[in-house]
């Protein structure tokens, strides 16, 4: 269970999150929508511990543990996964090497034995097949020369291999064509099928046609201003934020 209480975060001295409250129970899928500049990405980075996102007040507990006192890699070890809006290219590091190092780092943190090379190969091949990803892609350098869709698919492969208990997906659907969107949605639903928690950050309603959330929140000006079900997303799609009385780019 993720519990965020009165979270206030500054970036470069400017307050972006202004007292945000959110609780996600195990197995729930929450979607956060909101106008540009509302603080959606800031929320995901603050939960995962990126430098430069300074928490000035509030708490973030995951399964009762204080995430804010942990390094980003410890948060990952606790079962958190961040799907990036813009996955980073890392020339010179192959996907395979990266994923194996990541998986074994997490297993060491969790006190589990490292995965042997042979078993890792089997695991990653199986996951690539499930997600319809060309195994050749795994030999290439991390995200280097990948199209936008390939990068997002690669995030899904990483998520499947690392098998987090909570995934925060920051605009994973942006820039995807309809086929890629289905693959990404499929990856999310597989995780959901195992009773994992998911926080979807999205601009558009269309992902929610494939991954039906339990709750939809509207984030505006650093706070959650409205909570509902999938219907709320449909209303937003139809009327826009202004139509629901939420100021565009209120910050």
């Amino acid at each position: 269970m993720l519990e965020i209480k009165n979270l206030r975060v500054t970036v470069g001295g400017k307050e972006i999150l202004k007292g945000l409250n959110l609780t996600i129970n195990d197995g729930e899928v929450h979607a956060i929508m909101g106008p540009n500049g509302a603080g959606k990405s800031t929320l995901s980075y603050a939960i995962c511990g990126k430098d430069g996102y300074e928490v000035i007040e509030g708490s973030v507990l995951y399964n009762g543990k204080d995430l804010l006192s942990m390094d980003p890699n410890e948060r990952a070890g606790e079962g958190l996964f961040l799907g990036f809006q813009y996955p980073v290219e890392i020339p010179g590091v192959s996907n395979m090497n990266f994923l194996r190092t990541a998986l074994n780092s997490q297993r060491r943190y969790q006190g589990a034995p490292e995965v042997k090379a042979v078993d890792f190969l089997k695991l990653i091949r199986a996951k690539a097949k499930e997600l319809d990803v060309d195994p050749e892609m795994l030999k290439r350098d991390v995200n280097v020369g990948f199209s936008g869709g390939e990068k997002k698919r690669n995030e899904m492969v990483q998520m499947a291999v690392l098998d987090p208990s909570m995934a925060i997906l920051d605009e994973t659907d942006s820039g995807l064509d309809i086929d890629a969107l289905r693959i990404v949605a499929d990856g999310i639903n597989r995780l959901r099928g195992q009773d994992k928690s998911i926080l979807l950050i999205t601009h558009y309603q269309r992902l929610l046609d494939y991954v039906v959330p339990d709750f939809v929140h509207v984030l505006a000006d650093g706070r959650i201003v409205k909570t509902g079900t999938k219907d709320l997303a449909l209303q937003l799609e139809a009327k826009g934020y202004a139509g629901l009385g939420i100021a565009e780019n209120a910050a």
Binding site: A76, L82, I90, V93, F98
Partner: protein, 446 residues
């Protein structure tokens, strides 16, 4: 006060007189003559000072003080056998087949060596057969003051000659060890490598010593590759923390000859690697690559020169540097394209990664182009680790040290890309990665 261009070193002359009775080949009149004349030249010139452009980044004042050491001995005998064996076991790559030639404190060590003995290969050791070095000592490829000092004081060395159309089936490992007894010593070795037309050879040279003693390794190698010859050379510099390491390699390539040089600098307090090359036949190709690492008082200096004297030649330079707190580096790479060296293709790339704001990297590419139909490029960068890459890796579970390690490895891995040489290259790359990790895992002391 103005700095002198050259540093005076009166003590060196006195030390030379004291040492000379112990030199190799004292029974050879011609050699004693060469030594004496070279010493005179060195004494007249002294060591280059910081005002000499080529030595701008490595101040040799400390070397002048080192050379004034009263306690010079000739260490021909006596290095501790157990220590020597321990160092040898660390330096020797058992998973690479082929002969091995070992020098300890500047002298050939027959007990640990198994010299090449193959048809079409001539191999000699200086202390056993100085005559083989006569020509290269009498007509040095470069007559700088340091080169003269080396000729005057030469302790030992090796001579390798490959006959026409002969391919050495296996590489030769040359291992230079310094023991704790080398404190205060200068070890002046030489090599002469000749490949006749169509000959092929590979030499892997390692330098290693303990952290305690301060010693000066000073090695000069001459390489001649005739038409269509191919020479592949690796240098692993794993000297002790207080060591001064200097190597000069001078190559001359004739038509269609190929020379690949990989230069990996990880140890020593002060290191200078000079790689001087002349492309003296059409369609000759040279590929220089290297990586250097420096931290805490360490200074790494790479100095290259490529003379494109003939048309249709190709040169490629790829160097990567990693500097942590207190480390300093300089890359000075000069390419000179002669007036009639049309259709020259010359690339140069030097990138540096600073792991701390207290590190320093200097990059100085120089291109002198006198021909008008050439393709020459150069690029030099100094940067830091990418914060977004670091966070991406850490968000996947890698701790800070592991994330940095992966990124640094990726940064330097490029020097091995498209490296020819088959299975041996894989072994050497693996060793390089291990040494890189070893270097990274050591605590930074500031």
């Amino acid at each position: 006060m103005t700095l002198k261009r050259y540093l005076e070193t009166p003590e060196v002359g006195k030390n030379f007189e004291k040492r000379k009775a112990g030199f190799s080949g004292t029974d050879q009149g011609w050699l004693s003559d060469i030594r004496a004349r070279a010493m005179d030249k060195f004494m007249a010139a002294g060591l280059p000072g910081p005002k000499v452009e080529e030595w701008k980044y490595t101040n040799l004042g400390f070397l002048a003080r080192f050379l004034a050491n009263e306690n010079f001995k000739i260490l021909k005998t006596g290095p501790d056998a157990a220590e020597t064996k321990r160092l040898f076991d660390r330096a020797y790559m058992g998973n690479i087949a082929g002969s091995v030639v070992v020098f300890v404190n500047g002298y050939f060590n027959p007990a640990l060596s198994s010299c090449p003995d193959e048809d079409g290969v001539k191999f000699s050791i200086f202390s056993e057969n100085p005559e083989a070095f006569r020509q290269s000592l009498a007509e040095p490829k470069q007559a700088t003051s340091l080169n003269n000092l080396n000729r005057a004081m030469v302790t030992d060395g090796y001579y390798l000659e490959i006959s026409a159309q002969t391919t050495m089936p296996q590489p030769i490992q040359i291992i230079h060890l310094a023991t704790s007894g080398s404190d205060g010593q200068s070890l002046h070795t030489r090599a002469k490598i000749s490949l006749a037309a169509g000959a092929k050879a590979k030499v892997i040279e390692s330098f290693m010593g303990p952290d305690g003693p301060q010693y000066w390794t000073h090695m000069i190698s001459d390489v001649d590759a005739a038409e269509k010859a191919e020479f592949c050379y690796f240098q692993f510099q794993l000297q002790g923390k207080q060591a001064i390491h200097m190597t000069e390699m001078h190559s001359t390539l004739l038509e269609k000859a190929k020379f690949t040089h990989m230069n990996l600098q990880l140890g020593a307090e002060v290191s200078r690697s000079e790689i001087m090359n002349s492309l003296s036949g059409e369609y000759a190709e040279i590929d220089l690559r290297g990586a250097y690492f420096g931290r805490v008082k360490q200074s790494q200096d790479i100095f290259t020169r490529i003379n494109h004297d003939k048309p249709h030649c190709q040169s490629n330079q790829l160097f990567r540097g990693v500097l942590d707190a207190g480390g300093k580096s300089a890359f000075q790479g000069k390419v000179i394209v002669a007036r009639d060296a049309q259709k020259t293709n010359a690339d140069q790339s030097n990138k540096n990664l600073l792991l701390s704001r207290k590190a320093e990297a200097n990059a100085k590419p120089e291109l002198l182009i006198y021909a008008d139909d050439v393709k020459c490029s150069h690029g030099a960068t100094v940067g830091e680790l990418d914060r977004d890459q670091l966070f991406y890796l850490r968000s996947r579970g890698l701790d800070e040290a592991a994330a940095k390690e992966l990124l640094v490895e990726a940064f330097v891995a490029e020097v091995f890309s498209d490296m020819p040489g088959g299975g041996d290259t894989v072994v050497l790359q693996q060793r390089f990665i291990e040494k890189t990790r070893g270097w990274l895992s050591k605590e930074v002391s500031s």
